[in-house]
Each structure stands twice: as structure tokens, then as C-alpha cells.
């Protein structure tokens, strides 16, 4: 019983923590983000397994995690409300070559982040060439270039 509760509690705790961290936090994985992710994994592992290193416990924990994940995706499919709650919504941050500063500030982004995405995805050099920049639900910034 406790294996299922442990896995459920950790799933919930991590989900809330990553919601607080915001969608951008681990979207562009730098080397350090990768190390950080591994450290979080290490800390989680102990809490998930406790002092029971049996195969049964390991499988129970994995079954619980996957079951919650599949269950949530089914819920998301049926209810737009749940989907919005868990995945969030895309947000426009550049409109017709102009930064929406208030939004950037809330999303903890700076112009350099937008330009980085613009260069790497569209080869855009200047802000004015961007028609729309959007923070997608997965935290990545997608760029729509102005048509010439």
C-alpha cells in the first residue's frame, strides 16, 4: 500500500513544484539544468523506494507513476478544464515586432531569450522582423516571422 501512496505523493509534489517553477524552467535544457534534473532524480528516488529495494516495490512504484500519467492524459482528453490546469495555455509575447513587456516580466523572460529563439528557429536578426513570438505550453518560444 505505501508504495502506491509514496509514488502518488511524489508525483503530486513534483507536479506542483514544477508548476511553481513555471513552464520555462527546464524547457531549454542547459548543461547545468541537466545536472540539476539528475540531482532532483536522485533525491526523488530515495523517497519513492524508502528502504525497500525489492523488485516488487520497484515495479509497484513504476506501475503507479505510469497509471497516474495515463489517467491524467485521459482526463485531459475529456476535460478542457483539466487540460488547461495541467498543461497551461500558450501566451503571445511579441506582437507585430513589439515586445509585450508586462507579459515578459510575468513570465520571467528577457528580450535576449526571445531573440535567441528567433535566431535559432528562423534565422531572424531583429525584433522588428518578428510578427509573433509565443511561449508554448511546453515552455519553448515559437516564432512567426513577418512576411516580406
Amino acid at each position: 500500500m505505501d508504495s502506491v501512496l509514496r509514488a502518488g505523493a511524489m508525483y503530486l509534489a513534483l507536479m506542483v513544484l514544477f508548476k511553481i517553477a513555471g513552464r520555462r524552467s527546464l524547457a531549454e535544457l542547459t548543461t547545468f539544468d541537466f545536472v540539476l534534473l539528475m540531482m532532483i532524480g536522485e533525491a526523488t528516488q530515495q523517497a519513492l523506494l524508502g528502504d525497500d529495494f525489492s523488485i516488487t516495490n520497484g515495479i509497484l512504484v513504476i506501475v503507479t507513476l505510469i497509471a497516474i500519467d495515463v489517467g491524467l492524459s485521459l482526463l485531459k482528453q475529456r476535460s478542457g478544464w483539466v487540460s488547461r490546469l495541467i498543461d497551461g495555455e500558450p501566451t503571445i509575447i511579441v506582437e507585430n515586432g513589439k515586445l509585450l513587456h508586462r507579459r515578459l516580466r510575468h513570465a520571467r523572460l528577457i528580450e535576449a531569450d526571445v531573440m535567441e529563439a528567433a535566431r535559432s528557429s528562423q534565422g531572424i536578426e531583429r525584433l522588428e522582423e518578428i510578427k509573433f513570438a509565443i511561449i508554448e505550453r511546453n515552455g519553448k518560444i515559437s516564432i512567426i516571422a513577418k512576411e516580406n
Binding site: 511553481i20 497551461g88 495555455e89 508586462r102 509573433f132
Partner: protein, 172 residues
């Protein structure tokens, strides 16, 4: 956050996608409040609310001063903490010590040093007999491992003295 939601930047757009900025602002507010909560948890952890710290470490003595206990008020399930019991009695004589209440329900005793002269179970817990030194002092070091979750009240009594009451909480 003092934010004028009427600012043109924060109005919902319909192109290239339909936005709900009222909802997005709530999400951002949640992130901001969540950040404060994280900092609060950090400060609490540094203060010892989750075991091992200023707020957790206690040192209590019985009214007559003969029994003293140093212990952690907050424990975590599965982790170990030490408890130190000091007794003052007649020199070079055996002294009785009773661990009663819920102590043994919430914790398992990993080590007990020094080895008591003898021990037996009692109605509420267990009794140990220790030997005092030439100054009439006896000290017992116990390593406790939290096995359960919740609040545990226990008392530690020495023969003929008032008891020391302990309240301990074990986090999951």
C-alpha cells in the same frame, strides 16, 4: 502583486491564437505565491521545523532536576536522531528508568549506550536499570529511528522522581 490588469499588454488577443489572459494572470500569480512558499519552506527547514535545528532540538528537565532529556521534537520517518537522558541519583547505585507512553510505538530503538544493567517490559513501555557514577550521574544515549507518522507523547520517569514529558512529531 499590484498589477493593473487593464494594461494593454495584458489584454487577451485573438490572433494568432485565442488567449485567456485572466487565466494566465492567475497562473503567474500562483507561480509568484508558490515562490514565496518555497522560500518560507527553506527558512522553516533552516530553523529546524523539519527536524535538526534550533526549533527542533529540545532540552528538558524534570521539576526536581533529576531527569534531563535532550531530544529532537521533529523527526522524519525512516531517519535516525539521538536522545540523551541524564539521571542524578545516589552515587554508585542502580537507578531505574522508565520509557513510557507512545515512544516505542512511533520509534524503534537502534542503539542504547551504555548497555543497561538489566531491562524488562512494563505496562506502558520498558524499564531499564542504570548504574550511577561516583558523582551520582548516569547518562544514556539512545538512537531513535522514526517508524510511524504523526504525534507521539511519551514520558520518561526515573525512580521516585517526577517524569519528563516529551511530545514528538514524525514527518512522513
Amino acid at each position: 502583486m499590484s498589477e493593473d490588469t487593464d494594461h494593454p499588454d495584458l489584454k487577451s488577443r485573438n490572433r494568432p491564437l485565442r488567449e485567456d489572459m485572466a487565466y494566465q494572470l492567475k497562473v503567474w500569480r500562483f507561480e509568484r505565491v508558490g515562490w514565496y512558499v518555497l522560500v518560507l519552506i527553506l527558512v522553516m527547514a533552516l530553523g529546524g521545523v523539519f527536524s535538526r535545528g534550533l526549533l527542533s532540538s529540545r532540552n528538558v528537565r524534570s521539576d526536581d532536576g533529576k531527569v534531563g532529556v535532550e531530544y529532537e521534537m521533529f523527526h522524519r520517518n525512516g531517519s535516525t536522531n539521538s536522545m540523551k537522558i541524564t539521571l542524578t541519583e545516589r552515587p554508585n547505585s542502580p537507578v531505574e528508568l522508565e520509557l513510557a507512553g507512545q515512544l516505542l510505538e512511533g520509534f524503534s530503538i537502534e542503539t542504547l549506550q551504555p548497555e543497561p544493567l538489566r531491562s524488562r517490559s512494563s505496562a506502558q513501555g520498558m524499564k531499564l536499570w542504570m548504574q550511577t557514577d561516583a558523582d551520582g550521574q548516569a547518562t544514556l544515549y539512545i538512537t531513535l529511528r522514526g517508524d510511524a507518522v504523526g504525534l507521539f507523547r511519551s514520558q520518561i520517569t526515573s525512580s521516585g522522581t517526577r517524569s519528563v514529558r516529551l511530545v514528538q512529531f514524525i514527518f512522513p
